[in-house]
Symmetry: C2
Subunit: 587 residues, 2 copies
């Protein structure tokens, strides 16, 4: 089983030193979230993840969730851990105190999301979608519904799901067939089949609140006829107590490559009672509130799994001896593999990407809070634009880098990485879902290029590039070489941006064939920008904590020398057009 | 379960049109191996792989090999299939007719290896190591041993293994602890433990012939004291019949991420009777005869798994509808995903790498035959040098590209790629061993740079680059743009080569930190060179088979535009030195 120590020091560094967004710091609701409080929370979070949750990873992999006589049974240990988990209030961390939540900002809950992803992604998924459903209900439902459902969801006694996909539509929700027929009392009866529903059923909570997209009987075809419905597993009585079973049943659960502790369900809706959430035919808009936040969390999953993969690679490299290094001092026997240049390079690749991602994510968390709660509409909208731009980037980069990092972890472990004992191969399998679910990474790239880059006449990306450019000047001699590299790659990215914007207008296939590469180039530059922010602090406060800041500076140095240059390669191959791709005749 | 159709047409194209190595064609022993014969063999091979072997992949994954009461039981269906497999003579394909073999060259057996890897890698491994052991015995053992063991191994009634790794030594064989004590009759008693032994035990053959490296009691420490021993599972009587059980037992079998039908064994040797093969203390040399050929076959495994991943991605893309394309003609509903630029790009990436690799491998097979059998020592040695140079390249490139291709196959399949039904995720898991076993890909890269590039004063790589350069001129207008690209990247590779050779002398850590990238750059250029050979024929014989050659030309076009440029990116990032890597203080 892999070991795990939550990176509380790095998280506190970000919270203390990089919470420098004026707009975020203006938010009244988080005035009391100070360093001491956050440190207490993170230390408690570290304990529960390291001690209680971590062992569930292996348990879930060895004893996958099963469907027995219509009932989904989670792996051994999940129930007991979940009870403790909600008793300690972890499901309520970021929720509104009005419904019993602790009202923590995403700057804090994202750290918790990362830790939980490191410890056990399968276990995490049982509460993760509840938070998504909570967000969706609290933004779009009536007060009556909120008061009826949210307190129990915040408490974790009830959970939530997102029911989108159907057999013929994953990406393409316009094709959906689930029908909702309005009843005389204003409720609806839903019928249809949903597939790939994460945590669609389980034995951990008393009730499950499904958020289902469906087409009302009189709604038009395509995405313009989709509404959102709340469909509880058990109907809820007026007094809030659990009533009769609703018409939702679990048809089967998927057998998967990884996250085997998570129940991925086929759900059959058969005249199930549902309540419309938000406006009729605007269901996709409401659902996307949930989807967008969820996509960032998928990125964080990749980050969390990367972190535990790195930690175990580092400790293995320190204790495994094999081969002599170029500068060996050993007269007999081998050196520790951490002395080999090639292994060191792998470890630094992992570390420099992980820490850069964490800093980027922390910045995005601040923007998200501003986008949701800032009183000034203009500031709020600008933050919202940045979040919408960066959501597909974080989802895709962090999940793809998670594959690279878990793969490197396997290579560091050699044959012991491929066998089950060390649990490294499980990290690789578990993470492999992250580039797929919540919209494959190709869909994310298309979303970035064909929506986010086009919205507001392309103004959002321009503002973002401008924001980076504004950070590209310094008087600090030590920072200058890093700034120089960032500038070089920012120019490449700007050229790439102009190229792809033009193609979106005039040669869409060229843009389609380039959008994955564009996303990567943007991602590598964004992470570099976050590193610059880290470096500014590191040079300024160097004397306060030499070891910590020296580590940051050297890790950044690796990133700028070995990782950032990949942005250019993406630019070069992507801009070769697409006619030869589109005209190819596949036999 | 994935479908599979053996790519016989492409293989026959290579055999008919690219068997243009004069030295190879000079070999007397293969004069009778003509096109008709090879076509017959490949068509029979296609049948057995498509019909008999392919279903074993799923069977082996769902019912992993188990160890019960000291006996290894292969998955359901393996025994019956293996009987038919040896009855049809497939184990004897490339073996010497003197021992009952069919005497086919590697140009043919490599095609078979590819097919078998596509169909079921786990099943393949039971006979693959036998061929390795066969090669080793036939090159290094006495006639007596050859006559006693080889006919049964060729027939497939007995199998063979390679026993190298021990708990503290995988890469670093000098550390090995297995002891061999000479007996008065000239035999040895071996004691020690070997781990990660592929096909170390099974219930398919009557006997298993282990080739074991061990240290004789009076031999020196390190790699200079290693000898090679033949240790049968059952002793063999004078008359060739099976005798008493030898002191070899199976301690356990590994639970692995993939290739679950293959038995990866811990073998305990306890005063086991062994016979020395080759010279005392020269065991590693003898073993490397086997290892080097085996490493190429690991590359071919990656190629085979890539092929079946591609075939299934292509057919899925043709039948799955999702989203509208930029140029949709559909008025309602979605388009087939094969119409999307991004999916087409993935498919062409797979196809262009696979077909280029197959051509490169065919060239290498010819060189291997020349290196083994050419009567002219100089020609033989030159071919041997090229094979030794390209062995780590083929092993590493094909296995790493296999990961990229099986990963792309999963993305094309979306959620259906991550669930078990389609069998795509199994291809990904099965292939994941190929960058690890027979020396991790990092070891291969170090072998390339620190041995192959240094041997003969660096003359081997220079000759290889010269060989490519000589093919960089043409009068054919259509070929010129391809040649131009190859030349550009050959120049980059030459610069990279000079840089790394200098570093090997003067700054070894810089070379170590760059050797993975160097291998990749060499690999991408080598595949491009093979594509040039394919293109020459395609333009020359275009009118003979327009569809086939047009497909080749367009596939090559993709390779040169989108894949080959990756060589440059490897060059750029690798040459940034290593001081910042070596000096980093890992906490």
């Amino acid at each position: 089983m892999p070991n795990y120590t939550a990176p509380v020091e790095d998280m506190m560094f970000l919270f203390d030193k990089l919470r420098n967004n004026k707009n975020y710091n203006d938010l009244e609701k988080y005035k009391e979230v100070n360093s001491e409080l956050v440190k207490d929370i993170l230390e408690e979070a570290a304990k529960i993840n390291q001690n209680l949750i971590l062992p569930l990873a292996k348990s879930g992999d060895e004893n996958p969730t099963v469907l027995e006589n219509g009932v989904v049974r989670t792996p051994p240990g999940y129930k007991e851990a979940y009870s403790k988990y909600i008793e300690d209030g972890w499901t309520s961390l970021s929720c509104d105190p009005k419904y019993g939540g602790q009202g923590m900002p995403k700057t804090v809950s994202a750290f918790f999301d990362e830790m939980l992803s490191s410890a056990s992604l399968s276990f995490k998924l049982y509460s993760e979608l509840s938070i998504g459903a909570y967000n969706c209900i609290s933004h779009h439902a009536t007060d009556e519904i909120k008061e009826k459902y949210l307190p129990k969801m915040v408490e974790g006694k009830w959970s939530g799901t997102m029911c989108l996909t159907e057999p013929v539509c994953g990406t393409d929700l316009g094709l959906l067939k689930t029908k909702a027929i309005e009843q005389s009392d204003g409720t609806f009866k839903l019928s249809g089949q949903k597939i790939f529903i994460t945590s669609g059923d389980q034995d951990l909570t008393e009730n499950i609140i499904h958020l289902v997209i469906a087409r009302a009987a009189d709604s038009p075809a395509g995405t313009k006829g989709i509404s959102l419905f709340l469909v509880p597993k058990f109907l809820v009585n007026e007094d809030g107590s659990i009533g009769a079973r609703n018409g939702v049943s679990t048809g089967s659960i998927e057998s998967k490559m990884g996250i085997k502790g998570s129940a991925t369900c086929v759900l059959n809706f058969d005249d199930a009672t549902g309540y419309m959430i938000g406006l009729k035919n605007k269901g996709l808009n409401a659902m996307f509130t949930m989807m967008n936040l969820e996509r960032i969390v998928v990125g964080i999953q990749g980050l969390g799994i990367s972190e535990i993969a790195y930690q175990n690679s580092l400790s293995y490299a320190k204790e495994r001896k094999q081969g002599k290094t170029n500068n060996t001092k050993s007269t007999n026997g081998a050196d520790f593999i951490i002395e080999h240049a090639d292994i060191r390079k792998s470890l630094l690749n992992m570390k420099s990407i992980i820490e850069g991602e964490r800093a980027l994510c922390f910045w995005l968390s601040q923007q998200t809070e501003v986008s949701l709660y800032h009183p000034d509409e203009k500031i709020k909208q600008e933050a919202s634009d940045l979040v919408s731009l960066m959501t597909p980037v974080v989802k895709t980069m962090f999940s793809d880098m998670g594959m690279e990092i878990t793969s490197e972890a396997m290579q560091v472990h050699g044959g012991y990485g491929y066998t089950k004992d060390q649990g490294i191969e499980q990290l690789y399998r578990d993470n492999r879902i992250t580039p797929i679910y919540e919209g494959t990474n190709s869909i994310q790239a298309a979303d970035l290029v064909f929506r986010k880059l086009v919205n507001k006449n392309g103004d959002i990306i321009d503002k973002y590039l401008e924001l980076i450019k504004n950070d590209c000047s310094t008087e600090n001699e030590k920072l200058k070489p890093f700034i120089k590299e960032l500038k070089t790659h920012l120019e490449i990215l700007s050229t790439f941006t102009d190229w792809i914007k033009e193609k979106v207008q005039n040669s869409k296939d060229d843009a389609s064939a380039a959008c994955n590469d564009y996303l990567k180039a943007l991602g590598f530059v964004s992470i570099a920008h976050s590193w610059i922010k880290v470096l500014e602090v590191s040079f300024k406060d160097y004397e306060q904590n030499k070891d910590f800041y020296e580590d940051k500076i050297q890790t950044a140095n690796f990133y700028f020398k070995r990782v950032l240059p990949r942005a250019e390669s993406h630019f070069k191959t992507a801009t070769s057009g697409s006619d030869y791709i589109m005209n190819f005749k596949f036999s």
